[in-house]
Symmetry: C2
Subunit: 453 residues, 2 copies
């Protein structure tokens, strides 16, 4: 065949600035509110948890923010990432669609998460932070932050949800290889943890509890700050290196996408891929359909309400306007742990409200069927989260086959599944369960969304 | 800093031919002998197990063998692989040495093994083979062959050593994702397996038994052939894409290595890296020291004898002249399963006898210490096998520091350790054992090396 399989960029072509979509929005996103006063919060409210550089980025109206040289140096360890043409998958599907995927699994921890972990560690180190705390479920975010902290000589302390700490020890080991300290959450180290353990000594933990512990540990020590791996504006901005590189790579082969597809949990991978394309779309340079894919078990964009709600389960964070299933909704135990979130990044939610993107929900059995088909064709075993993007891509490619259209599809393969073999084992053994839309649980959780007038 | 971190080649720069070192050898390697007659074997002896194209490559005197287009198309899924400058490791060691590593972990299964699995599957498919059988321990080779068979619509049947089948289910899952059938060995499917099970129903299996089962299954079905992942001449030749790319990459930055370091088990990764450099050295174009690194627990090159011996444990294969610890020597259970082999590739052994390379042995505790240091600096967690190459590289870099010399070191990072977190867990918990040179076991095993006159 001798046809191009992947588009490779030179190290010199890593983007030198992140793209901030905020000044390009047709109308600004609603402000973040103080949970007590319901008034917009200011920088001082966030200062105990985040360095000023990141607080500034959170509300910045600059279209581009320069990427510091020390961050670029770390990005060079794996960036630019390859853009693949999925020729073998196209052939297996017998589709006239041309399918491209941007592969973030080449990063040190196998996902897109270091794109933001590295600048977060950098800005903290610059401002004198000695230690970062965070929460993690299966460990994708925790391992990314552990790697990033190792690069800037920061301590890293991770509260990992107890059930994952016990049952999925591999990413914990990865975090420890990078020098992080990992606690099972709820722990005895915080008031939040002790309170939960007093109520339930055998608590399996939750992301909400782990957030409370990590935030408490950061707030109680001036040289310690807290780090979040998704949802926030600055996190999505750091991820735009994905979309900026993809734009360059598609331009090199003279392609323009008709459809962009990305999975959404907190929204950082999706925002990173899509925001630079939305910029081009708003400028009239291309007109792709832009599609979020979420699990049927946690369908915030397709079934949630657009309302002010808490970012965490317990209700300690500021109130953000987003698509939410209710902050104490606990999604069914699907394998895509990174998509088990009750809300959505405020910027992604806002863009949905503005009609700039659409969303669909897919069950995990279809996702894993398509992931295995993808792996046999393309060689890469996807993490459970991007199996959703792959399943949606295959749906679109089969639609293209039916209509005979040469649709150009771009999707984000945001991580590999090397640490998720348990999920594939369950699928191959026929033991994977599909979860319907949890109507009653969502209804109950939505009743607890605070009234904001 | 803004200094180059990695050297990237374009897809068009994948080598279009493999390098065959045989015609360049100062004297030819000793022939392979029939185990019964002790006479050199011919193509017909191998025909039940291998396709004619590979048998031809095994004894070829052509310096270059063209890589078929269909193989190049699959190589393009991950090749060319990056060559990294380990700047952060250099800084951590405070060494004037410049350290480069060629990283094969970007392949679909995370190691160098697909470089030969893909052409082996291709030539078999071309000659009408329907199914390939093989053995695997932890599963690195089995998963590479499973991936390759999926690319050429071949069935793949793998006998996996029982203890790994039970205790390390992750690479088994990976093989099954790619569509392979995996049996626990000893199995009830072959005479060899049934014989062992009759003697010991609870047998944990061994690579030797698994080879016997895979070979028997191939020999008893005309449309089934057998595939081996190391040791043989054609396997090492397929791996020379590693060294050829490295030569190009170093030339791009105007570097010549003073020292090449690679780990040796069966010798395929080492041969793949070093043979093109040995060609340059024999041609007087450079003069690097070329160093094999093996585990102290399985030190064939540093402690073995150079003699005709069987390639498998049971004694079914042809006799090959190599450095051997005795074919029924069973190495201690170090975590680098891929280095637990009693012998060495005949070509690597021959080059050692010719004085063209040297060898050292390192214990696994030092290897994992250096691997963790490497991971914190460079972000990549090495598989247990290349931790040996890293430990040797660090030794050389510290020597350079002591002498003040700007030594240029090139090493092969032949795979990542995502599937080997159990080994790192043991190391981090302080539970990793070092094994001394097993003098008495080797002495006993050497007594069983057949007398060939």
């Amino acid at each position: 065949m001798n046809e191009l399989t992947k588009v490779i960029l030179d190290e010199s072509e890593i983007p030198e600035a992140w793209y901030n979509i905020q000044p390009d929005l047709p109308e600004p996103a609603p402000p973040v509110l103080h949970p007590g006063t319901h008034q917009p919060i200011g920088p001082d409210d966030l200062a105990p948890l985040f360095p000023m550089a990141l607080i500034g980025q959170e509300v910045s109206q600059d279209r581009y923010v320069d990427i510091p040289g020390a961050v670029l140096d770390v990005y060079r360890m794996w960036r630019p990432t390859p853009l693949y043409r999925a020729r073998r998958l196209e052939k297996a599907l017998d589709t006239p669609a041309r399918i491209y995927f941007k592969y973030e699994g080449v990063s040190p921890v196998g996902s897109h998460k270091p794109n933001t972990a590295v600048p977060q560690a950098y800005y903290n180190a610059q401002e004198g932070t000695k230690k970062l705390t965070t929460e993690t479920g299966a460990g994708q975010w925790g391992s990314a932050l552990a790697f990033a902290c190792a690069q800037f000589d920061l301590e890293c302390e991770v509260w990992q949800v107890a059930i994952s700490f016990q049952q999925k020890p591999y990413r914990r080991t990865l975090m420890e290889i990078f020098g992080a300290t990992v606690h099972s959450s709820p722990s005895d180290l915080t008031n939040a943890g002790r309170t939960i353990r007093a109520q339930d000594p055998e608590s399996p933990g939750s992301l909400g509890i782990a957030i409370s512990e990590a935030v408490e540990a950061a707030a109680s020590d001036p040289s310690t700050k807290y780090s979040l791996g998704s949802v926030l504006n600055h996190v999505l901005m750091h991820q735009t290196v994905i979309g900026e590189e993809s734009l360059k790579q598609l331009a090199m082969i003279e392609e323009k996408p008709d459809l962009l597809v990305g999975c959404t949990g907190g929204g950082s991978n999706f925002g990173g891929l899509s925001f630079p394309f939305i910029r081009e779309k708003l400028a009239g340079k291309m007109s792709p359909t832009i599609r979020c894919v979420e699990p049927t078990a946690s369908p915030s964009l397709t079934k949630g309400v657009y309302a002010y709600d808490f970012g965490d389960t317990i209700g300690m964070t500021p109130l953000v306007k987003m698509h939410t299933l209710g902050h104490d909704f606990v999604p069914s135990p699907i394998h895509a742990g990174g998509l088990r979130y009750h809300g959505m990044a405020p910027l992604v939610s806002h863009l949905k409200e503005l009609g700039l993107l659409e969303a669909e929900a897919i069950g995990q059995v279809e996702c894993f069927e398509r992931a295995v088909q993808f792996a046999r064709a393309e060689g890469i075993v996807p993490a459970p989260e991007p199996t959703h993007a792959i399943a949606s891509t295959v749906r679109a490619a089969l639609q293209a086959k039916a209509s005979g259209e040469e649709t150009v599809i771009l999707t984000a393969l945001c991580g590999h599944g090397h640490f998720d073999m348990g999920a594939y084992r369950a699928f191959l053994d026929g033991g994977l369960e599909d979860f319907d839309y949890p109507e009653e649980a969502v209804r109950q959780a939505m009743e607890k969304i605070p009234a904001v007038t």
